[in-house]
Symmetry: C2
Subunit: 532 residues, 2 copies
């Protein structure tokens, strides 16, 4: 059992800095860092899925802005692996401190900033983003300093080794990449956490033409190092943090998500039976949310043994999965436990840490590795259309939810790509006002070419090998809610008749009516209607 360290004594941080020469970088008051920050800078943070993000420095900056009424006057271009916490980026957004924020978030204030035109945001495939950041594609428009560098990186760590190398905490994200490309680095050592030494496998990216194969063929292979090197001259300061990650409890399973999980487990059994999948399945990628949790629950209660996981985020449900002996090993870029989940981890440290590894998101989401390992991808989209095109990001075509995240990398490259969602969602006036299955998705992140299996609580549509019209029939039949089935069928049939006459019936549409579900929703508060 790993001892959880005690709080509040000065010696805590020095015990985590094993390289004596770096002790001189320790500062006790983060306000001393404020002068280094200037309007318009390009800043990188550690953090992914709400863990291991910097807290002390961003909060000190937010306090500074609030105290001195610097709202909209001290703004940053902020680059993080994925989401962090409401007390940091959420507060920055509320204080109008964010000019630009890539490539993923899940905070209500940030989301509001994006959708009101106040925060420039673009979502990008997480692994490609990590590479492109290093190539200088996100810093092209920098007005001051080196166009290929971030001005300051702020990272949370749990230890600095004798070599002066960094050991992150509960996530990796783009920490290795921002350590490579930042001009200056601030390190927050979180002494409320144990050292995560040994949990990570950190890889340096050598841009083309120097990129080498990732020599990884199993989820538990290690191809990197456990601590990431950093040029000591880059280190601006080291500060202590005892602030916890601001995580919440996992979304509970419900009836619909359990029905979805049941369809998926039955499908897996049939695939094994048909010889297309090994008995322990292929490595599983699982998203976040109630359906993802239900699927993991379903798998852990199912007849499968020695399951491996290759995913972005390890969540509370995986602890049960480990405990019942069915989960063999899990690889991810983030541990996103609830506070009680983290306690479970820390109290049984030795029991869990040998069964998992945290990697750069450039590795966890790498097309190369997802393809090679033959991953089974499971993702929850906003909606999908009858031909299988998928919207993962923009509600009603325009409003950003969280960003594409790893959905594209997993859906495109997995051996088996599955999307799952409830068949309807409620509006104010109609408990089934929004259909997940639509004639033409209002935003397309993943095309018909990327997904094999569509699941709702209604059923499972296996579209492998089908042409678009066959696909549409199966998706409507198996996935659409009974309320929307006749409406969708009529669209497909009428579109097919019209397009056949024109000799243009590969993927039949009526572009004058394709978005009627959405216009009806705006006008009448529901997607359902009587007449096309």
């Amino acid at each position: 059992m790993h001892k959880v360290v005690e709080h509040g004594t000065k010696s805590l941080i020095t015990s985590r800095i094993k390289r004596p020469s770096l002790l001189s970088k320790v500062i006790t008051d983060p306000n001393h860092l404020i002068p280094y920050f200037q309007n318009g800078q390009y800043i990188g943070w550690s953090g992914f899925a709400g863990t291991n993000y910097p807290k002390v420095t961003p909060i000190a900056l937010a306090d500074h802005v609030e105290k001195n009424s610097l709202q909209s006057k001290l703004k940053f271009n902020l680059f993080v692996g994925a989401s962090t916490g409401p007390e940091t980026e959420g507060r920055w957004a509320a204080l109008d401190m964010i000019e630009r924020r890539y490539p993923h978030q899940s905070d209500s204030s940030v989301r509001k900033g994006i959708n009101t035109g106040n925060i420039k945001f673009a979502d990008e495939h997480l692994s490609i983003y990590a590479n492109d950041l290093l190539y200088g594609y996100y810093t092209l428009k920098k007005e001051k300093g080196d166009k290929r560098k971030l001005d300051i990186a702020i990272i949370e760590a749990t230890e600095i080794t004798e070599e002066g190398y960094i050991i992150p905490g509960a996530s990796v994200g783009i920490t290795p990449e921002i350590l490579q490309m930042a001009d200056k680095v601030i390190i927050e050592i979180n002494t409320s956490l144990p050292s995560f030494k040994g949990v990570h496998d950190l890889v340096k990216h050598d841009p083309p033409p120097f990129t080498k194969p990732y020599q990884l063929t199993r989820v538990d292979d290690r191809i990197g190092v456990e601590a990431f090197p950093i040029d000591p001259e880059k280190i601006l300061a080291i500060v202590e943090s005892q602030l916890p990650d601001n995580t919440s409890d996992p979304a509970p399973e419900d009836e619909k998500s359990n029905a979805i999980a049941h369809h998926i487990v039955e499908f897996f059994k049939a695939e094994i039976e048909a010889g297309r999948m090994p008995k322990n399945l292929h490595p599983i990628q699982s998203g976040i949310g109630s359906i993802a949790n239900a699927v993991i629950g379903g798998l852990s209660r199912g007849p499968f043994e020695n399951i491996n996981v290759w995913t972005e985020v390890i969540q509370d449900t995986f602890l049960d999965f480990f405990d019942n002996g069915k989960l063999n090993f899990a690889s991810a870029t983030s541990l996103r436990f609830s506070p009680s989940g983290f306690n479970r981890l820390f109290n049984n440290w030795d029991n869990y840490v040998n069964k998992m590894v945290l990697r750069n998101q450039a590795i966890s989401n790498s097309a190369e590795l997802i393809r090679r390992l033959g991953v089974i991808a499971l993702n929850t989209p906003v909606e999908f259309d009858i031909y299988g095109h998928i919207n993962s990001t923009c509600v009603d075509g325009s409003k950003m939810l969280n960003g594409i995240g790893g959905s594209g990398e997993f859906l495109r490259n997995s051996k088996l790509s599955i999307v799952h969602a409830p068949s309807t969602r409620p509006t104010k006036s109609d408990p089934h006002g929004i259909s997940t299955v639509v004639p033409f998705a209002s935003h397309i992140d993943h095309s018909e070419h990327d997904v094999d299996i569509y699941v709702t609580e209604q059923g499972l549509a296996d579209v492998r090998g089908l042409d678009p019209i066959e696909r549409a029939k199966v998706i409507i039949e198996k996935c659409a809610h009974p309320i929307y089935k006749p409406i969708l069928k009529e669209y497909l049939e009428t579109s097919t008749q019209i397009c056949l006459k024109k000799g243009a019936a590969h993927e039949p549409h009526q572009l004058d009516k394709a978005f009627k579900f959405y216009t009806n929703l705006v006008e009448k508060g529901t997607m359902r209607f009587d007449k096309w």
Copy 2:
């Protein structure tokens, strides 16, 4: 110089079969093969981009169908790497012999069959298709025989080695995969061609969990074998062919395509200057058509030396590129030369063959290798929208052109992804009736997350690091034709105002008007109009 073999003597085929025991499989009349073919079978052909496809057997089958009025009674599910020739699959389509045809074609009769609902067709990323075919995803619905096998593969080869291994001709495509999974194989040895021994690098795919890294870090690395093994018991027959590939001359460069090429060459110079690209660029992927040819022409006249190519198809223009000493090495899955181009190759064989290699399309289009090599992708789409979503396949949303091909694999995974197209195309009544830049693409194969650079003869839009609204402004400004600029600007501005009011302005759209370009085209023969 490689001697082109003479025609018409029986000894030609025996000289190409180096394994004596296989000589007993040679048959002289392909009509003897007809009884092996039954309605509903799953058939694989060699061939890619119109070269190295089987001819004698498909033509004998077509003659048989025509002679015996078996149209629509002898139909096949046909799987090829990409396109073949009009005298084979085109004739099969015209004779209603194709039930299903995956994943790419470029023949007018096949296209007509697809768009009139007579041929089931689905396009798929070419490398993923090769894998999924082996996994049994395209043969799931087979009614007879092993659901994980093709019934018969028909391949063109240029030699059988002493070990009994196959040496293909001018393309590889999915030949290795169909040799792995076919129940029976017919081999057509084309003695009108030289043996292509030494030109190929053929890789066997081991499905997960046995897949290994592709140990390739340079375009000229070899990771496979020069001849592909085959179980001799699978060989139904070996027949001689002297029919040439039915290729045409390359599309000529024109004024618009030269303007596009100029923008791209200037951009490359600036990228090198900024230190984001080596002086010899990164390996180039180039499509087919007049713009692709103009770009290759522009590069070969440009200031770049020692260029490498990592692409699908090597075309006539590459011969000039080799000849002027600027092209160092080219890797592809197909040599698609015109008849005169093939003569140039055969007459200077030793000069060219050491500078190129042909690979499985699973390798040429592999995400792993495209990412690792840092490829520069250059593709011509049907259209793209103001936010950067791309239609590569379905005209007006419904009518299949050729299929997605490798466009998705190259655009998603390349270090630098470029699409290029003329800003307008003519309709009957308007020389600028169709705009390439539209408000919302009528079909989306590649999303905003996949492409860095958009080019028309009007200019080049570099959207790296931009958010959707910034991207739209640049794409409209740089790429749209002056006729369409004000129309598109008004759409963007009005949509932004409306969506800002709703707090939904990440990617502003008006879904009731998003497809007006297409409805206007149907009603008035042009996409242009005065009033939104």
